[in-house]
């Protein structure tokens, strides 16, 4: 009976391995009589263990390569079953020379058995091949387990705690009335002047909130700054135009501008079409704004949020139109372009700090102070690790907890 089972199993493995060939075309008559193919020696020392730091859907399988790995093996097939006697099903394969496979298709709590087949596959024609197979011992049972904490992210967790603690500490300090010093940022100080210039010239102010959607923090930071810009525009009775490239950003920005106009007691001056959708397409958006800028010749332009290759196209056109330009983005690659073409640029985190600077609200300023403190700790850590590295202590080896 066992022999029959083994024969059945072997047949099923062969059929499985040949499935791709069968599925292409019917078997070539020339290949009906297949030449014998030498089977490689089987892989040994198969080890299956739970994949660490996962949701219990994976197991790691490793093995010693077949002694014929270089000479005969074309691939290794990983076979899995819920019972030691099979049936074993091929769940994936690796190329020769590879001794590791992660099976991500497991169910938490279920026991599995594995074995590895070394395959020597020789192509006869485009659609037919012959294979020599040898299999390792069966290993198992092994159950995948879900972990409650991803230890590989321990370092991220540590720094997140430190950063959050520092921010919360300084927010509390600020709330208790302690005076906090924050350095000046020229780009933020220039916001009032830029809008003032537009008011004097009787021209528009353009606010471009980038091409990212509302799931990007930079866009949220941009909308925050927009609120402040809208308030100044509403007070000065300056026309504010906000062309956007995402519908959700349009909805949020519209509400923010509406609220800003209401706050300064001018809800009647707000027009819905001040905040309008243009297109989701990156360069379509750039082309549309370039057109508007050349026609309307705004006196001030704000670029805040996530920008990509369109950054310089927008900023150069604004420069050509003679507008005062203030930009801020979280995209490091675009900062040089804004620096070259704009009057003021908020670099990196300055974009996120802008709302705190503009509002001067103690709690927001406290968060900035905490952020700076965390940055100081980062620099200290980098410095210490650098010194350790110079003495031959590699921090990567120390921190690797996987």
């Amino acid at each position: 009976m066992d022999r029959l089972k083994a024969l059945l199993f072997l047949t099923s493995v062969v059929i499985l391995l040949c499935l791709p060939a069968f599925s292409q075309t019917s078997i070539d008559s020339a290949a009906a009589v297949k030449p014998a193919v030498e089977s490689p020696a089987p892989p040994t020392d198969v080890v299956a263990k739970d994949t660490k730091n996962d949701d219990g859907s994976a197991l790691d399988i490793s093995w010693q390569l077949s002694p014929d790995d270089k000479r005969l093996v074309t691939k290794y097939v990983v076979l899995r079953s819920k019972s030691p006697n099979g049936p074993f099903v091929g769940i994936g394969s690796t190329t020769k020379g590879q001794d590791f496979y992660t099976d991500n298709g497991d169910t938490v709590g279920v026991s599995y058995y594995y074995k590895i087949a070394a395959v020597n596959e020789v192509k006869l024609t485009d659609s037919t091949s012959v294979t020599g197979i040898s299999e390792s011992q069966v290993v198992g049972p092994i159950k995948p387990i879900a972990q409650w904490f991803n230890m590989r992210r321990l370092n991220v967790f540590f720094w997140l705690l430190v950063t959050c603690a520092a921010i919360l500490f300084y927010i509390m300090q600020a709330k208790s009335g302690k005076e906090l010093y924050v350095r000046k940022i020229a780009g933020i100080d220039a916001v009032d002047d830029a809008i003032g210039r537009a008011t004097e010239m009787g021209r528009k102010v353009f606010f471009v909130p980038g091409i990212q959607d509302m799931d990007d923090v930079a866009t949220i930071a941009a909308i925050t700054i927009l609120g402040r810009v809208a308030r100044i525009c509403a007070t000065n009775d300056t026309m504010l135009d906000v062309p956007v490239s995402r519908s959700l950003v349009m909805v949020t920005a519209r509400e923010s501008v509406r609220e800003a106009y209401s706050k300064v007691g001018r809800p009647d001056a707000f027009k819905e079409d001040q905040v309008h959708y243009v297109t989701d397409d990156q360069f379509g958006y750039a082309a549309a704004i370039d057109g508007m800028v050349m026609r309307d010749k705004p006196a001030a332009m704000f670029y805040m949020g996530g920008f990509f290759a369109e950054a310089l196209i927008l900023a150069e056109t604004g420069n050509n139109a003679g507008a005062i330009q203030i930009a801020g983005t979280n995209q490091p690659a675009q900062i040089p372009f804004f620096v070259a073409a704009c009057d003021y640029t908020l670099i990196g985190e300055e974009l996120f700090a802008a709302s705190a600077y503009l509002e001067r609200e103690p709690r927001l300023l406290g968060s900035l102070k905490g952020q700076d403190f965390a940055k100081g700790l980062f620099l200290l850590a980098i410095f210490i690790l650098l010194i350790l590295f110079m003495f031959g202590i590699n921090w990567v080896t120390i921190m690797d907890v996987s």
Partner: protein
């Protein structure tokens, strides 16, 4: 009136382009003469600037236009050196044995195609020549269409036509999936979950190439062509960092500097940046294509930009001199 002149110039240009014999390539001697003329014109602009006549941006545009178009008709040989980052990318591909599964993520759209399409062509040609199995996908809606254009092109190469790569066996196009980086995240557990059917509506399970491809652990290399978000940064942060797969990339020149930090920390396995990356990649893979014809225009345009930086500094000196005279 000026408006009409612009239209007239445009019409004249179109007529000239239409009646020119194609392909028009001028002799090496004529190429040298045109280059010298361009150089003399730049020196003339420099002299004008030093004498106090500052030039407008339209003159800069005119020179850039000339430096980008004229070299297409010239006949110069330019030696190409492969940069270390492109070499890393090529070496990673060269290490893959025949039959390796490579996931090709096309995360760009037509605007970036002039820079990225030559890289796509060179990669596809290399993959087919070396029997790599290519699984195509896109986080940008137009990405998979760009991939199809590339495949159609390389299938015309005689060497590849002889190999006769088959759809579903040697390559497959899974199409576009919305969700940005979340798609990569979910592919970590199941490719099938994100792409139940390929671009031609064939079930995932009915495609022979995808037999046994569950997630990143069944992928030997990821090649990402990216021009922004979502792109290389997301692939590195999720596929490399969380799932340990090797990722190499081709980026637009504008985007490339921002992924250098991942390159030096060895999270990113090679990078071809912009047009220069494209022609170096073609050179490394010994598959000269469209990018190699752009070497000359790019060389000329870089030289013209450098010339204008020098002219700009001459203008600065002139303004200093004037202000000093004013003070005196």
């Amino acid at each position: 009136m000026n408006k009409y002149y612009s239209w007239l110039i445009l019409a004249a240009l179109i007529i000239v382009v239409a009646i020119l014999p194609k392909p028009l390539v001028i002799s090496p001697t004529a190429s040298v003469i045109v280059t010298i003329l361009l150089g003399i014109a730049l020196v003339w602009v420099l002299v004008l600037t030093i004498r106090g006549h500052l030039i407008g941006r339209r003159v800069v545009f005119l020179f850039i236009g000339a430096s980008l178009t004229l070299p297409f008709f010239m006949n110069f040989e330019m030696p190409i050196k492969v940069s270390p980052e492109v070499k890393i990318l090529y070496d990673a591909l060269a290490k893959l044995p025949p039959g390796s599964k490579v996931l090709a993520a096309f995360d760009y759209d037509p605007p970036s195609a002039p820079e990225l399409q030559p890289q796509a062509d060179a990669f596809m040609a290399y993959a087919f020549k070396h029997d790599l199995k290519v699984i195509i996908m896109g986080l940008w809606p137009q990405g998979p269409q760009q991939a199809n254009m590339s495949i159609d092109k390389v299938l015309q190469y005689p060497e590849i036509r002889a190999k006769n790569p088959k759809y579903g066996v040697d390559y497959v196009n899974l199409g576009f999936q919305s969700g940005n980086e979340f798609v990569i995240q979910r592919m970590g557990s199941s490719f099938r979950g994100m792409f139940p059917r390929d671009i031609y509506n064939t079930d995932y399970d009915k495609i022979p190439l995808l037999n046994g491809v569950e997630n990143f652990s069944n992928i030997d290399f990821v090649f990402n062509l990216s021009s922004g978000y979502p792109g290389t940064v997301e692939w590195v942060q999720i596929a490399v960092d969380r799932y340990g797969v090797k990722v190499g990339a081709g980026n637009t020149a504008v985007q490339a500097p921002s992924v250098y930090p991942y390159l030096s920390s060895r999270k990113l396995t090679g990078l071809a940046g912009g047009m220069s990356g494209a022609w170096q990649f073609e050179q490394a893979t010994q598959q000269p294509g469209k990018a190699s014809t752009y070497v000359l225009p790019q060389t000329f345009s870089h030289t013209v930009v450098i010339a204008f930086i020098i002219i700009g500094n001459a203008a600065l000196m002139v303004s200093y001199r004037r202000s000093k005279r004013g003070e005196a």
